[in-house]
């Protein structure tokens, strides 16, 4: 059996001790030590965690993500310049998926742009690209009258995802929920958590502020205006909350969410399930479906790219690329013979010639199939096209299928 060791100079989120205490398997991801899955004894394991999010509710520590704030008179113009989507469409409190592009029309990163105020925007970016993105944003907005701040270390970010996410959050609204303390610490004999916000009516891709009350022993704390977004990376309903990165507060909130969600079968979820969930929904992952060598058209993210904007970084190259025509495109694959296609595996035509590669591949726990996303030349893109994936030297049959592989069921 082969095994991999984590390197030593990794960063840790405020919840690192909690994950370890819960017995999570930790792994290094883009310079961060993160939980990949939790023990089966507490309802964890990638498959259990994935299913909990699809049928109930799961919570994720996603504090490794980064946050860049742009504020000032020309904040909108600055975001317009660096982002391919159109932030002028955002009302205060609204968010949109977008990307920062290089002049070649390829990806610096994908991002969710939140409009927090008249002239205030928060870009939530990927973990591995924190420093790169901040440098990119700062260097490409100097000409605009706005401040650019890296707030990445200020937040603990927790995602609460699943059809029961609203039910879980409503338990915390107007109620001080008892938070069991896993390890007896000095002083605190009890902890409580309450978060007031209008969870149920917060619309998809909108953000609001909530008030959070935490108690540990006799120490009470109010956090007015914690950010709550109805966003996520799982395709399910849910929220992402942004709270202080203080370790004590973060721990109370994490444990409080688990306590409030107990009756809904809440499960802590790691990066393993995070990946299988987003893959089923065909959500891109930087370094896989999108990167600095892939352009917007190839990645199929046209609908988030507003070419009617007169100017943004990458626009000229994208116009040229569109005129020339894309040579390759991202497709969904389903294995039709026994085997699992994985990241980086070669895609072959039926004569065994290499035609492309898998960007992300894995068993899909909810769909119970082995699925993948891959770049292939256009002639192999039609649904039903039979191709092969090279697995340990053998071509194993697969076919092109519609994406997303999974869609959230419509409420009756």
């Amino acid at each position: 059996m082969s095994s991999v060791e984590a390197t030593s100079a990794v960063r840790k989120t405020a919840l690192n001790a909690v994950h370890r205490q819960m017995g999570a398997k930790m792994v290094e991801f883009n310079g961060w030590e993160m939980p990949v899955e939790y023990p089966a004894s507490i309802g964890g394991g990638i498959v259990n965690e994935h299913m909990a999010v699809r049928t109930g509710v799961g919570i994720f520590d996603v504090s490794h993500m980064g946050d860049i704030r742009l504020a000032g008179q020309q904040a909108l113009a600055a975001v317009q310049h660096i982002s391919m989507n159109d932030p002028s469409r955002l009302a205060v409190g609204q968010a949109q998926y977008s990307a920062l592009l290089y002049p070649l029309g390829t990806f610096v990163d994908d991002v969710i742009v939140h409009r927090l105020g008249e002239d205030e925007y928060l870009l939530v970016i990927n973990a591995g690209t924190r420093e790169k993105d901040f440098g990119w944003v700062r260097d490409n907005t100097r000409q605009f009258d706005c401040v650019v701040e890296n707030l990445s270390d200020d937040f603990t970010q927790i995602a609460i995802q699943g059809p029961k996410a609203v039910d879980l959050m409503e338990k915390l609204h107007g109620n001080m929920v008892d938070v069991p303390i896993a390890a007896a610490g000095p002083g605190a004999s009890f902890q409580k958590l309450r978060i007031d916000a209008d969870f149920r009516s917060l619309k998809f891709y909108w953000v609001t502020k909530g008030t959070m009350f935490t108690m540990t022993g006799n120490v009470r704390r109010n956090d007015n205006r914690i950010m709550i977004a109805r966003t996520g990376y799982t395709v399910e309903d849910g929220f992402e909350i942004y709270i202080s990165s203080n370790e004590t507060i973060s721990t109370i909130v994490w444990n409080g969410l688990l306590a409030a969600g107990k009756e809904f079968g809440v499960v802590p979820c790691g990066l393993g399930a995070r990946n299988t969930l987003r893959l089923e929904g065909k959500l891109p992952l930087y370094g896989h479906e999108i990167s600095d060598t892939i352009n917007v058209w190839e990645a199929g993210l046209d609908r988030f790219c507003k070419m009617e904007k007169p100017e943004f970084i990458g626009r000229a190259a994208l116009e040229k690329a569109k005129a020339e025509g894309v040579k390759r495109t991202l497709v969904g694959l389903e294995m039709t013979e026994r085997g699992i296609a994985r990241d980086g595996y070669k895609v072959l035509d039926n004569a065994g010639r290499e035609i492309g590669y898998v960007t992300s591949g894995s068993p899909a726990p909810f769909l119970k199939k082995n699925i993948a996303l891959a770049y292939v030349p256009l002639e192999f893109a039609p649904i039903g096209t039979a191709i092969k994936v090279e697995i340990r030297g053998q071509g194993v049959a697969a076919q092109v299928v519609p994406t997303p592989f999974y869609k959230k069921p419509k409420k009756a």
């Binding site: 059996m1 082969s2 095994s3 398997k25 990949v36 899955e37 394991g45 990638i46 498959v47 393993g272 990946n275 299988t276 026994r338 085997g339 699992i340 994985r342 894995s362 068993p363 726990p365 340990r392």
Partner: protein, 129 residues
């Protein structure tokens, strides 16, 4: 955990239970726990030769592919077809979910392997539990 004493173990977390000139091979409970949910097991064909210390197949969890190594050299006589449809059996009971039965090329090779007690010690030192 107490590892069954009716077999020998390798540092790559395989077990081998010999009976005369044939032996049954699988992976240990420690291995299945480290892997997480096993979703795919790839085994050699009957008749294939396996070589001590070399990969004879692979076990896949959701996240990763892991090679499995032959504890000794021999010829594959039988493989556990059940693992094709129910790979999770390895998680449920790794010490019963055998993978292959082989005709031993050299039973003497078993002497170099770890006893249950030595394997348990090895796992504890490796940072396992």
């Amino acid at each position: 955990m107490g590892y069954p004493t009716d077999r020998k173990y390798t540092k790559q977390h395989e077990w081998i239970q010999a009976s005369g000139n044939t032996a049954t091979v699988g992976i240990t409970d420690h291995a299945q726990e480290a892997l997480g949910d096993i979703v795919f097991v790839e085994l050699p064909k009957v008749g294939a030769e396996v070589t001590a210390g070399k990969s004879f197949g692979s076990v896949e969890s959701v996240k990763a592919v892991s090679d499995i190594y032959a504890p000794v050299s021999g010829t594959v006589k039988e493989i556990n077809e059940e693992l094709t449809t129910s790979p999770e059996n390895v998680n449920k009971d790794a010490h019963s979910a055998w993978m292959m039965k082989i005709a031993l090329q050299d039973p003497g090779e078993l002497n170099a392997l770890l006893s249950a007690a030595d394997y348990e010690k090895f796992v504890a030192e490796e940072g396992g539990h």
